[in-house]
């Protein structure tokens, strides 16, 4: 399948997403929103997965935690994978659980060799439970942590090498983290193992209400910023066409507005395809 551009699915866009004539439009959902026994919510996922290719983008496995991934959560995720046959399944390089308590966020950690072994084992467990490989997404970062033994790009590359997982590169997260922690986002993109990148995310961010532009927040509540579009074009020129997602989770606009961003990303992808074909 030639990669195309998808959009993050919102229930209020159900009719528009099903009716859209857009060629090979695909949709991504958070599986946690559909881990229910039945009823209308479950029926919505069936409706979209029958009509369109879908991707499951998890937020709850806490793969960068010291504990094993929750087996009951993995079973629920496997049930969705078996039922809806997503073409992509992804999770985050972050943690969100300690013991029996969940923190609905994507939390950071020191990239040590000990953490690397632990996280590689967690990814292995997830991939075995799901019967397939998954993509791991780079996080948005807000604080500097002492004691990193690895750069994030080397850490991701080593996870790929050890587990066979792929990467989901969120270009907005790269922009946000580079801004907040003070590094060059282009150097970051150039250091990624490009052959492992199986999906790209594009999203909007906002300025922290107190600290302004020095602290960018990965808020997914605005249109994609111009510097993120520029980084996307840079990354795509390196990787060739990769399935790309327009992600929006708050301040949800009309479906047509998301589709306009999709068209813009599609034109970047198409230009790259022509370069690759030529």
């Amino acid at each position: 399948m030639v990669p195309t551009v998808g959009i993050g699915f919102k229930p209020e866009h159900l009719e528009a997403a099903l009716r859209s004539p857009a060629d090979r439009l695909w949709l991504e959902v958070h599986p946690e929103n559909y881990m229910v026994a039945g009823g209308p919510r479950a029926a919505v996922l069936s409706a979209i997965s029958e009509a369109r290719p879908i991707s499951l983008h998890g937020v709850g496995l806490s793969l960068a935690g010291a504990a094993d991934p929750d087996p009951s959560h993995l079973r629920r995720l496997r049930a969705l994978v078996d039922r809806h046959a997503p073409f992509l399944v992804s999770e985050h390089l972050a943690w969100s659980r300690m013991g029996d308590t969940c923190f609905p966020d994507l939390l950071p950690f020191p990239r040590t060799t000990e953490a690397l072994g632990r996280i590689a084992d967690n990814i292995d467990q997830a991939q075995q439970a799901l019967g397939r490989t998954i993509l791991i997404e780079n996080p948005s970062l807000y604080v500097a942590i002492d004691g990193h033994g690895w750069t994030e790009t080397d850490f991701l590359a080593e996870l790929v090498r050890r587990t066979g997982c792929g990467l989901l590169i969120d270009v907005n997260n790269v922009h946000v983290s580079a801004n907040n922690l003070g590094y060059d986002p282009v150097d970051y993109l150039d250091a990624l193992p490009r052959e492992a990148i199986g999906e790209i995310h594009l999203a909007g961010h906002s300025h922290d209400p107190v600290h302004g532009a020095s602290l960018l927040i990965d808020s997914h509540d605005a249109s994609i910023a111009e510097p993120v579009w520029a980084l996307y074009a840079h990354l795509i020129a390196r990787t060739g066409p990769v399935p790309t997602l327009i992600e929006r989770d708050d301040n949800i606009p009309a479906f047509a507005e998301l589709m306009a961003e999709r068209d813009r990303a599609a034109s970047v992808l198409a230009a790259t395809s022509e370069m690759v074909d030529a």
């Binding site: 946690e32 929103n33 881990m35 229910v36 026994a37 039945g38 009823g39 209308p40 919510r41 479950a42 029926a43 937020v59 709850g60 806490s62 960068a64 935690g65 010291a66 504990a67 959560h73 629920r76 943690w95 969100s96 659980r97 300690m98 029996d100 308590t101 969940c102 923190f103 609905p104 966020d105 939390l107 950071p108 950690f109 020191p110 040590t112 000990e114 953490a115 632990r118 970062l141 807000y142 604080v143 500097a144 942590i145 002492d146 004691g147 033994g149 907040n180 922290d208 107190v210 600290h211 020095s214 602290l215 927040i217």
Partner: protein
């Protein structure tokens, strides 16, 4: 550098306690980690208790929701199930002094959520022949999406009134009410029901056959109209055959 488990433990301590200081907590960005999980919790409560949001308004709900979200962190990443204890929390909160019905309204929102996400199963159709239904009586059970509760305030009247926009002022009679939440034709329905209906639903939920449950109801309420109750239960898709779930799969 501490190992991953120790790092997480220290991070959580600093995240949940604004008084904790240190290299991480001193950075402006650490506030993002203190706020985001709480905002996610409050947002989930607002989504799961929309009638409480309507009654309190967004600002007041945000304040009480934040107290709950701090005190009761989620135990699962499946946030559409978050807040099971919110009604009990409201009942014990100072809000209950001014709004004594609030906790019971929250209980109805919770039943709505449970009914909405309950398993699918084919319900007994009201169009079925009465004799056929009678012959199946021993196999009749409640549908997985059926929820009911007796409330000691007129919370059902208040809940129903708050689903109307614009809201019309009501003066409910201060008495207990029964509520039955079901999912006919894939949409959640909330009905106010009699104490007799609640007795029958309690018996059914406890495993009694429909005939035994009817006897319990008629013993407690000699004037109850069994035919009317049974017709209502069929009409709102509250009943199914005990092996229907398996057939459905």
């Amino acid at each position: 550098m501490p190992d991953l488990a120790s790092f997480q433990s220290g991070f959580v301590d600093a995240m949940v306690d604004p008084a904790v200081t240190g290299a991480l907590a001193a950075q402006p960005g650490f506030a993002v980690y203190r706020n985001t999980p709480l905002k996610a919790g409050v947002d989930a409560l607002i989504a799961n208790y929309p009638t409480i949001d309507t009654i309190l308004g967004n600002e007041a709900f945000g304040a009480v929701g934040l107290i709950y979200a701090r005190q009761f962190r989620p135990v699962s990443p499946i946030l559409c199930d978050y807040g099971a204890g919110f009604a009990d929390f409201l009942a014990a909160s100072p809000l209950a002094d001014d709004l004594p019905y609030l906790a019971n309204v929250a209980r109805i929102d919770r039943l709505w959520t449970e009914a909405f996400f309950a398993a699918d199963a084919p319900a007994l159709s009201p169009a079925l022949d009465t004799e056929l239904i009678a012959s199946l009586a021993d196999r009749i059970v409640l549908h997985p999406a059926s929820r009911h509760l007796w409330l000691d305030t007129p919370a059902a009247t208040i809940w129903l009134a708050h689903q109307q926009a614009p809201f019309k002022a009501i003066e409910p009679v201060w008495q207990g009410e029964g509520v039955h939440v079901t999912r006919p034709k894939g949409a959640v329905a909330v009905e106010m029901v009699s104490a007799a209906d609640i007795v029958l639903l309690d018996a059914l939920a406890g495993g009694a056959t429909i005939l035994a449950a009817a006897e319990v109801m008629l013993a407690a309420f000699t004037d109850a109209d069994l035919a009317e109750t049974f017709a209502r239960l069929l009409h709102c898709s509250a009943l199914m055959l005990s092996d229907a779930s398996k057939e459905h799969q």
